[in-house]
């Protein structure tokens, strides 16, 4: 098994500067940490599907079709993708060559907070992607193998799919736990990122 930082770190470190990254909320927070800590940050080419579970694949598909010269990487969550499992078919029907769809399979919802079990035990997202018609689908549970294979997968004609078997982050909730209020940023960042992404695409086209 790999952890979230290893799973997302490979994407953050290896994706090309002109690529687009679409992520759901669990991965988004990890990419935030990586962007804050590392160099060079690629914040302007990110779009978070938040708060919107299930939206990442559709956003990535639209971006991939609109920007066929760029690589688009979607980092989805297992519970999110389950909400819109049909998006595998919607992607495969359009067959964008420049799309790599990654799912973080950690079996939990509110990961790192409450770790509530997701109804996903025994389910193979990679097999579902193959059945839908993705050109290739692979599964990784070791960070080194994922890091070694990422560039080659990104270079292949897509749509490609990767299922990463990831251990959940430790839960924080329990007796006496008091959640912090959701900040406005949580509800504004998708719009902010959308505008930044539009500017990035115009400036770098």
């Amino acid at each position: 098994m790999m952890n979230m930082l290893q799973a997302c770190g490979v994407v953050a470190q290896q994706r090309p500067a002109d690529s687009i990254l679409v992520a759901t909320m669990g991965a988004m927070f990890v990419f935030d940490r990586i962007d804050a800590a590392g160099a060079p940050p690629k914040v302007a080419s990110r779009l978070s599907s938040v708060p919107l579970m299930g939206g990442a694949a559709g956003l990535g598909l639209g971006l991939a079709l609109a920007q066929p010269q760029r690589r688009v990487i979607v980092v989805d969550g297992d519970a999110s993708l389950l909400m819109e499992l049909g998006s595998l078919n919607s992607v495969a029907a359009q067959a964008p060559k420049n799309l790599l769809h990654v799912v973080i399979h950690n079996g939990t919802q509110f990961t790192g907070l409450a770790n509530i079990a997701s109804p996903v035990r025994g389910f193979s997202f990679a097999q579902a992607a193959r059945n839908a018609g993705y050109r290739q689908a692979e599964t990784f549970d070791q960070p080194a193998a994922w890091a070694e294979r990422f560039a080659a997968l990104l270079a292949l004609d897509g749509p490609g799919f990767v299922e990463l078997m990831v251990e959940p982050m430790p839960a924080q909730t329990g007796p006496g736990f008091e959640p912090a209020e959701m900040p406005d940023l949580q509800f504004e960042r998708m719009g902010r990122e959308a505008r930044a992404l539009q500017s990035f695409l115009k400036e770098s086209s």
Binding site: L47, L52, G54, L59, S87, S90, Q94, G191
Partner: protein
């Protein structure tokens, strides 16, 4: 009611296509709509410069269209009223909160022909009757495509969506004509 209840209300699909071309629409993202079958037929047959994308449900249609828009394209969403009911949370995220401009043609599936020319809010059917109050509640502007003379509302909807940053709905009242 006349023996041809649709004759004053059916907008030709060809006229819709012409209007979309004039506006510069390049993609139609859809979950098929009974009311707009004539438009679907033309798009399925192939219309130069108008790519057709079928999705599995309306949430995906909205997110795909949003991605296209951010990528510099000009999509149209086509769905029916129950599809819009299905994707309210996605519209909330993409259009109300993130302010991504989108135009939706939404067919009033189930509308009684006797209700054409009357307020849709007087329909016996909840699917039809609830649509305009719902859009009002969501703060989503809408236009009524009740007859061919209303077609300029499509261009207006795009101008409004892009100026406001959000969704604008064009409600298609009657089945489109196969001409």
């Amino acid at each position: 009611m006349t023996d041809k209840p649709l004759q004053d209300h059916a907008v030709p699909a060809s006229a819709c296509i012409a209007a979309l071309r004039q506006i510069g629409v390049d993609h139609v993202v859809t979950v098929p709509d009974w009311v707009q079958l004539a438009l679907h037929a033309r798009l399925e047959a192939g219309e130069d410069g108008l790519a057709l994308l079928n999705t599995c449900n309306e949430n995906q249609a909205v997110t795909v269209a949003a991605g296209l828009t951010l990528g510099g394209r000009r999509p149209l969403l086509v769905m029916q009223n129950q599809g819009l009911y299905n994707c309210i949370n996605t519209l909330r995220a993409v259009c109300l909160d993130a302010h991504i401009p989108l135009v939706l043609m939404v067919g009033q599936f189930g509308r009684e022909y006797a209700n054409l020319g009357q307020p849709a809010t007087a329909s016996r059917r909840s699917m039809v009757r609830l649509m305009q109050p719902l859009l009002d509640a969501l703060g989503i502007p809408f236009h009524l495509l009740d007859r061919p003379a209303d077609l300029p509302c499509l261009a207006l909807a795009y101008a409004q969506a892009e100026q406001r940053g959000g969704a604008v709905v064009v409600l298609v009242s009657a089945p489109l004509a196969w001409s």
